[in-house]
Assembly symmetry: C2
Homo-oligomer: 732 residues x 2
């Protein structure tokens, strides 16, 4: 079945995508039943939103609602440990009294899952709107019961956004600070130097936190400064105005060495600066202003980290997503040398943000304490002059924007809402490095895409979650021999290999996949994963251009088997030699046996729009009692299906049946030709293109639709009847 | 052919549309070859952009490049008169010297074609970047050679936008005033009181003029004021800011009685006010900010005119269009009682527009001189106080917006760029009034849509122009018995009836069209146009809900003809009585004749995505030499098409052939089964869904596509070969 879905017709679906703007169609789609995906789900436990790899990449820690699990990274269905952290009855009751839902909101959603050295995990949960943190001892896999106040580390409300990163044992987090979720905060939870953002619109304006990561410093090739912690979020723009609130994606950063100000900005960041993160076409016609996910790609052969972001538009988002990539230095440049914005009051009650063009105090406001600053006797942020501190307090927003490398998106895809991204840098057989983007959707799928000759190629789509629920978290393990993608959703965790090379059964199929992970090995005649091959020798065949000529020779055109009547019709060939219809094959007992004739059902695989009509044909020869049975999703069809039966000389029969149908969901069909001398069957999956409607719209439209279909049915039957009458009017 | 395109499968295409957001699919598509459309084109003449109906609706005046024509409104291919207005060699040379193209720009594009009483037309043209106007005498159909200066009435550049309307012999126009096109102007060209707009950004900021029309006054039920002239345009917003220039649709109006100010606003409008014209979802998720076309619908049963607008988005326009409708009073209300906006200077160099909340002078700035004003001794704009005039000079922009009736679009359609709209209000058989929207596309098509039970129903799509060129102008003639749509493009003028009722050959088809113009007349058994029927009696059948039960009874299920083997397959029916295969029919000479067997090719009509793969099947019985010939768009197929031939008892043969193809454009297929005893053929049109790409994108993608197809072909053939081998392995 799977080979069919990934077969010739699916491959031609690429052709379909090619003609529609922004709709690169995955070359292959794997349904969750077609590929082996390890799954982890604990009965009664939901919201598997936090994923963390152990230092040795041996264990995957999973934070879910009221529980943390340790599972095997090689097979996530193998649970090693579990620890529960349930909300007490008492707390739940008090939470419910405040008007929150006892069944959904007044529970403990694990939102922070960070390593604390090598022996423990730092875990925070919403804890029925009373965020709390605890230490999970890895040896005993038990909570130590510390019950630290989680305010400012973890949101109160499970519906609110959050992000965090552990740096040198101190937790940096972006979340909301109060019950209502109205006070956003980016903070460092540190015993000796806790810091936070000002509570002011210019600092944070209704942000949705997306990601936090430590970047820069010597490890990332940034000279002379200490590490920076980057925060990525979408917030309401102060600098732009439209009819409704305009969202804008931001990148903000603070310095690890920040200790706050002495008087001004006391216990507040003195290094908080933020800038716009642009993703769109340079001509402004396409603009993606909602950041959904960020992944930082590091690789030994990359001079600096690459920041990948997944975006959707706020305006006119008729299902549209994009991936943009940024160099770390582009962001550093804006913070280090960019212009600031400043606000001006207009007519007492309005504010306008414009480029600040006055003198900038020294040391530069928001800069990390670097060698130069130390040389000027500013040893820490505590010794910074008041002028610098007051300036950064009033001017946290840069006027310059961080623009993507290549000045536009790496990938634009219509008809889909992307949720998360991870990127794996891998080398093809010829040594070329490819950044393979794994992007998840809000309907449970994973797209794997690369840039090929300036164009984007979606190698495959994998349906990770059968219920098409949104993918909430993606995690990549890129260790050699352990290259896996882990995806978390409300219902569980799914583990997928980075490639399904083995599913390609021919050299052509393997090469045409244009998957840098896969190459054809002629010796065992198998498509193998390069990263699982000990010595990728010269024998392997891979061509990222999709050129299959290197594949072992096989007759490219079918030579009809002797005696068959499969002939080639073309101009002038109409008088080609004819063979009589092949008599049905016969078994050892001499009785004709059932033989399906081409095109087999499996050759008729197709992708159809929801409720779009299509035909399937099934024909066979067999004994006189041969008859056709159609199955739809495993159940015998009750509808009337036309069938023609022809008695063949020698006691056999030829049957031909055709089915017309229109389906709302991808559907399996099976045509069985049964007889007293055995049966033959062929099956096919008709894949429905993703519908793009809200449930409400769908419902009203479907009502109208079904009524129309019912009305049409009679006519269709009549037109067939007329055809029959006309072709039968002479004799029978 | 046409009946097929509008047949059962096209009807099911509605189903497809239903599942895709914003993609209502036309129920029927008429190719230009399928319907009778009168065309007018004069060899060598292009750019048929100006259309005007004569007062008696008997003659259509057509303004093209360097020519004006008079054609018959009942048949536009009947030319009555022609008048040429060519640019002199000398002028062309001077124009070319200024860097303009001699072949394209330095010609005379007719841009103004307005009635001048009943005896003449007022005509203006770009005249090789020296706009000029002339009178065309209708009796002699000759230009009078007046050569008036056309500056301010007609643009210099044929690429620039323009609009005009003749009111009481005075031309009101919106255009650009200079060679560069940088000075926009809305003016009245009047001998006794010429008026114009201030040349200032707050008045007009890079506008694209769309439409002008006289509205209001007693004729349109607006009390106590004089007529207003409304202008519709898109301009660069001053009040909003984003990364790039934000466009905004505007409605502006001036009063007919305006005579300018005495000192302030001397010879300028004292009544120029403009407001935003909103079209989008109230939640702000969909926002259409580029106005493309306006049509003002008036009808005896409408209390006031309805303003219909066609919009596209500026941002993220992946092929998206909308139609919004406004009541005249909604616009009047904003101008008469709305708040004004005012600008404030920020930091010397920036401007911000905010709501003006100070005192408003009296008489109200921008108001027409009404009874109240006259009673207060302001008999004309010349006597208005300076404070009022200065205020309107500084505050031409309203803060309130004109919002659509129903608060959202009437129609949103993805995958299309609408260009023009006309609306006809018509009554269905039951007396219900429908506003039928005729909307043209930039690819030469016309959509006809109505609102049905809150949902939009695109009754049909008509391909007006075979070359898919943009429709530039639409004109409706709504006279009883003469209901036509006239469409102008670069290549010519096309005339289409408002409905193609006669194309529906069955009662069910006629009713299912849900076309308010069409009803089924059982007596002649024909689908008739209501407006062409003398007495739409009770005998007619129409149901706008698509309920076909009122249609004359006809057997709803096919009863298989005696002796045929069309049987109904269902559970338990597998042992239903079998009949032998029908021997092929024989002719009078006893020789078997060719008989096509169902499903006929014509029953396999389908709509496919561009380059999406599909199958067609063709089978027949006939004499032994029967063979299949496939034709594609009238040419015999040169590709290899599989065919199976079976020798039947009695000397006949059964042939089965199946074609797999993928096409870029809608394509006609024909399967002919030929033999020495005659031939039979069946044809089908496979319709390609509109691609949504720019030519550039298409080109690069197609390259990749074709390479992929070429690579896949071999595999497809191999898989068929394998199937053959497996089914043949026993004997043959």
């Amino acid at each position: 079945m799977c080979a069919r879905t990934g077969g010739p017709l699916t491959a031609l679906a690429v052709v379909f995508g090619a003609a529609v703007a922004f709709a690169p169609i995955p070359r292959i789609t794997w349904e969750h039943t077609e590929v082996q995906l390890a799954r982890f789900h604990q009965p009664g436990i939901f919201n598997y939103s936090a994923l963390l790899l152990s230092a040795d990449a041996d264990t995957l820690y999973v934070g879910a609602r009221e529980a943390v699990f340790a599972v095997d990274t090689l097979n996530v269905s193998q649970k090693r440990h579990e620890a529960y952290w349930k909300v007490s009855e008492d707390k739940q009751a008090r939470c419910a009294e405040k008007g929150k839902s006892r069944q959904t909101e007044c529970l403990n959603y694990i939102r922070v899952l960070q390593p604390l050295g090598t022996t423990a995990l730092y875990v925070c949960g919403t804890n029925a709107f009373q965020p709390a943190c605890d230490h999970l001892d890895l040896a005993s896999f038990q909570f130590l019961g510390r019950h630290e106040d989680g305010k400012g580390r973890c949101p109160f409300d499970p519906a609110q956004s959050y992000t965090s990163v552990m740096v040198d044992g101190e937790l940096y987090s972006g979340t909301s600070y109060n019950f209502l979720g109205s006070e956003p905060i980016i903070s460092r939870n540190s015993s000796h130097s806790p810091l936070r953002t000002e509570y002011a619109i210019p600092w944070l304006n209704e942000p949705s936190f997306v990601h936090a990561e430590v970047l820069g410093g010597s490890a990332d090739g940034v000279e002379g400064g200490d590490d920076r912690v980057y925060f990525f979020f979408t917030e309401v723009s102060v600098e732009f105005e439209f009819l409704s609130k305009l969202l804008i994606p931001r990148v903000a950063r603070v310095c690890k060495g920040d200790q706050g100000g002495l008087r001004t900005l006391q216990k507040k960041w003195t290094t908080f600066l933020k800038a716009r993160l642009l993703c769109g076409r340079p001509d402004g016609s396409l603009f993606f202003n909602v950041l959904r996910s960020v992944f930082v790609l590091r690789a030994p052969d990359l001079q600096e980290p690459v920041l990948y972001g997944v975006f959707t538009p706020q305006l006119n988002n008729v299902g549209l997503s994009a991936v943009c990539a940024y160099s770390l230095s582009a962001a550093e440049e804006v913070f280090a040398r960019g212009k600031y914005m400043q606000s001006a009051t207009v007519e007492q009650s309005h504010t306008k943000w414009v480029r600040y063009s006055g003198p900038v105090p020294s040391p530069r406001p928001g800069a990390c304490i670097d060698r130069e600053a130390r040389a000027a006797n500013f040893s820490s942020s505590l010794s910074l002059p008041d002028k610098t501190l007051q300036f950064v307090k009033d001017h946290p927003l840069m006027d310059d924007s961080v623009t993507p490398t290549g000045s536009g998106p790496r990938l634009v895809k219509s008809g889909v809402n992307y949720t998360q991204i991870v990127v794996d840098r891998t080398r093809a057989l010829d040594g070329t490095a490819y950044d393979v983007m794994f992007v998840s959707t809000d309907r449970g799928a994973l797209h794997k895409a690369i840039s090929l000759e300036g164009d984007v190629h979606i190698i495959e789509e994998t349906q990770l979650f059968p219920d098409r629920e949104p993918v909430q978290t993606l995690l990549l393990s890129a260790l050699k021999g352990r290259r896996f993608i882990y995806a978390g959703s409300n219902s569980g965790v799914v583990q997928a290999p980075v490639a399904f090379c083995g599913k390609h059964s021919t050299c052509e199929d393997c090469v045409l996949a244009r998957d840098p992970y896969c190459a054809w090995s002629p010796a065992p005649a198998a498509c193998v994963a390069l990263h699982q091959t000990e010595s990728p020798g010269r024998a392997l065949i891979q061509d990222m251009g999709g050129e299959v000529s290197a594949c072992p020779a096989s007759s490219p055109m079918p030579s009809p088997p002797p005696g068959s009547s499969l002939s080639c019709l073309g101009p002038g060939s109409s008088s080609s030699p004819r063979s009589p219809w092949p008599a049905s094959g016969s078994g050892p007992d001499g009785r004709p046996r059932v033989t399906l004739l081409p095109p087999l059902l499996s050759d008729q695989a197709q992708r159809v729009p929801a409720m779009g009509t299509f035909h399937l044909f099934c024909q066979a020869t067999g004994p006189a009692d041969a008859h056709v049975v159609w199955e739809k999703n495993g159940r015998e069809l009750e509808a009337c299906v036309p069938v023609q039966t022809l008695a063949l000389p020698g006691g056999g029969a030829h049957v031909l049946s055709w089915l017309q149908d229109a389906v709302r969901e991808s559907t399996e069909y099976r045509c069985s030709v049964r007889s007293s001398a055995g049966s033959q069957a062929s099956g096919v999956r008709v894949t429905v293109l993703e519908p793009e409607v809200t449930p409400q719209e769908k419902w009203t439209r479907e009502l109208a639709t079904w009524r129309a279909v019912a009305g049409e049915h009679g006519r269709l039957m009549q037109s067939w009847r007329k055809a029959w009458e006309s072709c039968n009017k002479d004799t029978f």
